[in-house]
């Protein structure tokens, strides 16, 4: 629940760290592979041996620039690496190579869209990006659970793997906005193949800056920084907790102390890190082992030309081109693989529908658009023009009701779909043509995910086809009316409810395969005549 803050405005900024999915480290050619035996991916450079020289990973530089472009940011032709000096066993050089005065990307923007729990649009806003910088990660420390063990253990496999630090401006005004920003950024990084975005393994984590200020006040309040969060829930809870804590302080006339906090996910509370005796003093200076970084305008231009369609652009296109609701458009564009699957299936559905249409011009076209009860286009669609949206909506429904429940995030990331996109397209086309019912679609989908059969094979094998043949349906109806002559007489004498019973009986007689609209039309015609 959002804390009520009538008297205060919440101001939030995020520093996100994303590990790049390069094959090798930022300044040496050691692998970045995760889960290796300790200290296997190390060499004199990342171990900080005297005399070893760092050489910049070209791919890491390109990926940083790519993100800058995607954020509509300013990608600098020249940038600089500096040393951030500190002693800690996770950093054998006693400094981190990072960027300070001249980052690779300065300025940018990321649009976010807020929705309520039902997926309805609330509002959109743009979060300004202050900078994106390249830097190296630190190693990993391990501590024994037993406090009497007076030693810690260091694994330097992760040491010097490339990170992007993405710093937002303090543009967010609620925990929900912060989480949405983090999600949008993660989606973008995965889309562009910059990072695997795997939060469990710590490939993506963030520090959250929170402060409060009196409403209407321009100057920022004193902020706290909560470090190293890697779950959406953690980010949300830590922010909520900080808001409540800081608000209580301010209301009682106390001051918020600018300090670094750690969030405990078990208690849902933040607490200050043991305050260091010395104020942080990193004594940055340009790394003399590395010269100025150059990323040419030509390189930037070719990156720009090769830029794929970004999630936000897809989101807007799905709304415009396929008339999807915001909720559906956001869902279909939420992952690159899912978006590809959705687009492929929709294209397939349209192709199949167009192919089939000329043959059944008169019978299907009129009925079918009326059958799309949830379609935004309504019933009087000029054939062709709105077929795309209608079919896309059907594809979208099949994906959200049938496919997604079978898909784990990992399988989605690896594009391991239980049912091929063509099959979804084919089912959508059949639904739209009124050849199958949504109940049949469910059954076909289940069979598809359990066997290697095609939609056509399953349909034939199980006789899953709606009966659209008027003569065949009339025969069924005639028999039902004869068998239930009394009910039919009831209807004629004004008992309107009897109709439902008769339709039910006829449907049963057809083994559920009668095309429902056609069936009820026939019954009505017969009873009224």
């Amino acid at each position: 629940m959002e804390a009520k803050n009538l008297e205060f405005e919440v101001v939030i900024g995020l520093e996100v760290h994303a590990q790049l999915n390069t094959e090798t480290k930022l300044f040496c050619r050691c692998r970045t592979s995760f889960g290796e035996q300790a200290n296997m991916n190390v060499c004199p450079v990342c171990l900080g041996y005297p005399g070893a020289l760092p050489v910049l990973n070209e791919k890491a530089l390109v990926k940083a620039a790519l993100l800058g472009l995607a954020l509509q940011g300013k990608v600098n032709e020249q940038s600089l690496f500096e040393r951030k000096n500190y002693f800690y066993p996770d950093s054998p050089k006693a400094y981190q190579i990072s960027q300070l005065q001249y980052p690779i990307v300065s300025a940018g923007v990321l649009p976010i869209h807020l929705r309520n729990k039902n997926g309805e649009d609330l509002y959109s806003k743009e979060i300004q990006i202050e900078r994106v910088q390249l830097e190296e990660d630190a190693g990993k420390l391990m501590h024994s659970e037993r406090s009497e063990v007076k030693q810690s253990y260091v694994d330097l496999n992760r040491c010097s793997t490339p990170l992007l630090e993405i710093v937002s401006k303090p543009d967010m005004r609620s925990a929900a906005e912060a989480v949405e920003y983090f999600k949008s950024l993660r989606r973008l990084l995965i889309y562009l193949d910059i990072s695997d975005g795997n939060m469990q393994d710590g490939s993506m984590r963030c520090d959250v800056n929170v402060s409060l200020r009196a409403r209407g006040q321009k100057a920022l309040g004193t902020r706290t920084e909560t470090k190293n969060m890697n779950t959406f829930k953690g980010i949300e809870e830590a922010i909520q907790y900080e808001i409540v804590r800081q608000r209580a302080l301010l209301l009682s006339g106390e001051k918020v102390i600018q300090e670094t906090m750690l969030f405990n996910s078990n208690t849902g509370k933040t607490k200050p890190m043991r305050s260091k005796e010395e104020a942080q003093d990193y004594r940055y200076f340009p790394d003399p082992d590395l010269f100025t970084v150059f990323f040419s305008k030509e390189n930037l231009q070719s990156l720009k030309e090769a830029m794929p369609e970004l999630p936000d652009a897809k989101f807007h296109r799905y709304k415009q081109e396929f008339l999807l609701s915001s909720y559906d458009a956001a869902l279909m564009s939420s992952s690159k693989n899912l978006a590809g699957y959705f687009e492929h299936a929709s294209a397939e559905a349209l192709a199949l529908f167009k192919e089939a249409k000329p043959a059944k011009e008169s019978s299907a076209a009129g009925e079918s658009s009326a059958a799309g009860e949830s379609s935004p286009a309504g019933e009087s669609s000029p054939a062709g023009k709105l077929q795309g949206p209608l079919l896309a909506k059907r594809v979208c429904n099949l994906i959200s009701t049938e496919l997604l429940s079978l898909l784990t995030e990992v399988r989605l990331e690896q594009a391991l779909f239980p049912v091929p996109a063509e099959a979804i397209g084919s089912m959508a086309a059949m639904l739209e043509q009124g050849l199958i019912s949504s109940k049949m679609a469910k059954e076909i989908f289940k069979a598809l995910s359990e066997t290697d059969k095609t939609v056509e094979e399953i349909v034939l094998e199980r006789g899953l086809k709606l009966i659209c043949d008027e003569a065949a349906l009339e025969a069924i109806v005639d028999k039902v009316l004869a068998d239930h002559a009394k009910v039919a007489a009831d209807f004629k004498s004004g008992k309107a409810k009897a109709m439902g019973y008769l339709i039910g009986q006829a449907m049963k007689a057809s083994k559920g395969q009668a095309e429902p609209k056609l069936l009820s039309k026939i019954i009505q015609d017969k009873l009224k005549s």
């Binding site: 060499c43 050489v55 890190m273 340009p286």
Partner: protein, 112 residues
């Protein structure tokens, strides 16, 4: 290049014993009282020299970060063969104060 952050070190603090202690702590170098005094006097002299440099008018001069007129070279993102890349743990152990079972062993450090 335009810097995103400004260096605000135009007015350096006068070196004091307290500053020497701070520096000694930051650089993890233990100094005796005598050493502190002697380094303090060195540091004062160094700063006088730096002040001299500050007198030069650099109004329209771009900062120089390296005397080498070159951009930093890059390498392809290709791992070197496993046997070349990975360091023998016995070699690492030779260069570490305490290396056991594949880990560097250090005095216990833990952030609460």
């Amino acid at each position: 290049m335009t810097p995103m952050t400004q260096n605000t070190s135009s007015k350096a603090k006068t070196p004091s014993l307290k500053m020497m202690e701070h520096l000694s702590k930051l650089s993890r170098i233990k100094l005796s009282d005598e050493e502190k005094q002697s380094f303090l006097s060195d540091l004062k002299h160094i700063l006088v020299f730096v002040e001299k440099i500050n007198e030069v008018d650099t109004e329209n001069v771009q900062p120089l970060y390296s005397p080498v007129e070159a951009f930093t070279p890059t390498q392809k993102d290709v791992a070197v063969a496993l046997n070349e890349q990975s360091m023998d743990h016995s070699k690492i152990a030779e260069n570490a104060p305490n290396f056991q079972l594949g880990y560097f062993v250090v005095p216990r450090v833990i952030e609460e």
